[in-house]
Symmetry: C2
Subunit: 454 residues, 2 copies
């Protein structure tokens, strides 16, 4: 990435460590102000506690605040631990309230209380409210730093207010407009304020019909709205339409990336809490439950095979061929399921409207099953010199790929209806179906036509 990133200097762990050792306070502070505190935050992740402490002692509060705002949860906790309560409260003066709430939320109850005691009442109240929203809700990710202006202001007055507040808030392109009762009634683009005459009324240049969310809404839903409507901020309002805060697009990107990572992990049967650095014991705790659930379904497939042990004992070739039938069913099932999971995530699938696609999946199962089945059958018939073994292989392959199409389609749809996340839980049901029914169809057919196979 570095060659594409055109920057004069890049902050990394060694450079940061060097600056701290050499006590280059001014240079470090300048770097943070001039460049991106995120680079310093990322480099600081690899420092030990002593180095962190030295870094904090070198920097003024506003720089520590900038770094903390960009730090991940882990580094935030470690930074907070190296700071005294007085220092922390001083740093909070340079931070957005939602970041303060996040940091306080991670402190011990005792320390949280002491710090609350050192804060002003109105600030304390805002932060306590913020702490009450679930972490992954609109309320949990919103910031309280935004501009709202009254609709009866003139452009010149609005501009004056924006000038005053702008340095302290996150998004200035979209200005929220409230009526005298404080209800959100519109938004106005800063560009429209800039290009309108001084005496124009805000009420006349604002857009009505604001898209907003309530604080309980899940962050994933918020992300969908922001993404659909290309918003650079979405207001969070209570049931009386008073603005509680806004969610900015950079936080929405974080949400999307986070949910993406969760899905990738959970689809593979891993918890979102696990990473490469998770300890052995913790990894066992996180992964074993999923393996045990899978063990149960593996037994279901195994018992299906066991039921036909008598048949297999007579035609042992069945034991190697059956793994092809079940395996290919699993692959075809995961294809259908992936299409459905994607479709549900973006458009919502409605069986009444989409039944032709369901029928298509069945036909796909027949055709792909016939092609893969025929190839397999020819090889099987040649190896084992038995034409009928080939015939039941084709039929079973078609049958199991139809099973794959049916379950690959229905399982995600039904899970969605039941309120479960189809991305995460579909595959276990689909695979169980293609394993159990794949073995059953193939071995069942073999049992029926046993005399022809001997």
């Amino acid at each position: 990435m570095s060659k594409e990133l055109q920057r004069e200097e890049v902050m990394n762990e060694e450079r940061l460590r060097q600056m701290i050792e050499d006590r280059e306070a001014a240079e470090l502070s300048e770097y943070i102000t001039e460049n991106n505190p995120i680079d310093v935050a990322q480099a600081a992740e690899d420092l030990d506690d002593d180095e962190l402490w030295k870094m904090c002692s070198l920097l003024p509060s506003e720089d520590i605040a900038s770094v903390m705002e960009q730090a991940d949860d882990d580094l935030r906790v470690r930074l907070a631990d190296t700071l005294t309560n007085n220092e922390l409260v001083e740093i909070f003066h340079n931070m957005a309230q939602d970041d303060i709430a996040d940091i306080i939320g991670d402190l011990s109850i005792g320390r949280r209380k002491s710090i609350f005691n050192m804060m002003m009442d109105n600030e304390k109240a805002v932060i306590k409210t913020l702490l009450e929203y679930p972490e992954e809700s609109a309320g949990g990710i919103m910031t309280t730093a935004y501009i709202a202006i009254k609709d009866d202001l003139k452009v010149s007055q609005a501009l004056e207010k924006i000038r005053d507040i702008a340095p302290k808030i996150e998004v200035i392109e979209t200005i929220f407009v409230v009526d005298t009762r404080g209800q959100l009634i519109g938004t106005v683009d800063l560009r429209d304020i800039l290009s309108s005459g001084k005496d124009a009324m805000i009420a006349d240049i604002m857009k009505e019909n604001v898209i907003s969310v309530q604080p309980e809404v899940d962050q994933e839903e918020v992300a969908k709205l922001v993404s659909k409507y290309d918003l650079n901020a979405i207001p969070v309002v209570n049931h009386r339409k008073a603005i509680l805060g806004i969610i900015t697009v950079d936080d929405i990107i974080d949400v999307i990336v986070e949910e993406y990572n969760e899905d990738i992990l959970e689809m593979g049967g891993v918890s979102k809490e696990e990473s490469l650095d998770t300890t052995l014991v913790q990894s066992i705790k996180l992964r074993l439950p999923w393996l045990l659930i899978n063990l149960l379904t593996a037994f279901m497939a195994s018992l299906t095979v066991k039921a036909f042990e008598g048949t297999i004992a007579q035609v042992v070739a069945l034991s190697s061929i059956m793994t092809i039938i079940s395996g290919m069913g699993g692959n075809a099932g995961s294809q259908t399921q992936s299409i459905l999971v994607r479709e549900i995530a973006t458009n919502d699938v409605n069986f009444k409207k989409d039944w032709p696609s369901f029928v298509k999946e069945i036909f796909l199962g027949v055709i792909n099953g016939a092609i893969n089945g025929l190839i397999t059958a020819v090889i099987v018939a040649v190896i084992y010199h038995n034409f009928f073994l080939g015939v039941i292989t084709v039929i079973a392959m078609i049958g199991n790929l139809v099973v794959a199409g049916i379950f690959g389609f229905l399982v995600p749809v039904v899970l969605r209806k039941l309120g479960a996340d189809p991305a995460v839980s579909s595959s276990i049901f689909v695979t169980t179906a293609t394993d159990v029914l794949g073995f059953f169809i193939f071995l069942g057919l073999a049992n029926l036509f046993l005399p022809l196979l001997l």
Copy 2:
């Protein structure tokens, strides 16, 4: 979603169709201007060509432009087909150049030429340049509508310029600063311009060290930069550091969502081009190749079983137990692999640094294998009244879960080194390993200790 979406009126297919039938031109136009053209674009997807034509005949060019800007590729092509060349060029006057380039790129060569002939030379040149960048590169997604000001301007002059251009561009919070040779040398926040004195120089309030990309950079890399540095726009520059365009954060969100959907589909063995509406023939073409590759690997596993047919013939219980061993290996492998794929996507894995995690995966395989193996062994020993069958089950389960850990870790790392996308192609290699080696270890052990099992 609708209950959280606090909007007075929602545009849907029926409402749009009704408005078109009733020729409510003014109402529809007002809806587009006042609300979100994206709603109209989405509703229009379900209209037939005749209705689309009627809709276009009702609306002024600027409204058709708004809807086209929000339309997906498919609808854009259909809209372009209902319009004459003259109408299209007229609509282009209300559109950003990157959107025009996207639309022209989808037209037939003949029509493209006719339309180029109707355009002004300078505009034609810009659009031809845009068309040259690959669709998924920085150049392919950038817009040419941005503000760049010279560093020797005063704040009052800059503000004047911003006022003039603001309505025509996409992002105004970040203003790009160029020197007299046109090289990008910094950015200035609109909030800093607003809060500075009229006579302050732009050079004094700008930030240096701009993060920029070159036009060839892949869109996924661009998305990573924007997400990391919380940018609301990233400039695209040539090797002389002249600005070619900018990429705005809303387009970055589209990139992230698009890449996400691609990954979900490709992990399931489906092409990103397939959706629920893909025709049967097209679906076969898209899915069959992946199934055939899998058929090859299924045969590898099957041949491993075949090699031990003699053993299975003597102890037929092996045929049902072996499916548990291979299946559990597949599940454990996909757990390890998911962790690695996520880690590679976010941090990059370095074997020199991360080897302790590799060792951890092996221990995890031993422990999870022992637990799952013991449970399976007890049940197996009870069902088949054979202690030694239980013993080889435990050993094989441990062996195959270690295989899962090793391959689940190494396959994504190696694929990444080879330049392949680990999210997409890891699973086939990991599953082949756990299937083939799972069968081999279990049946091989059974063969070794055959006398004990009889």
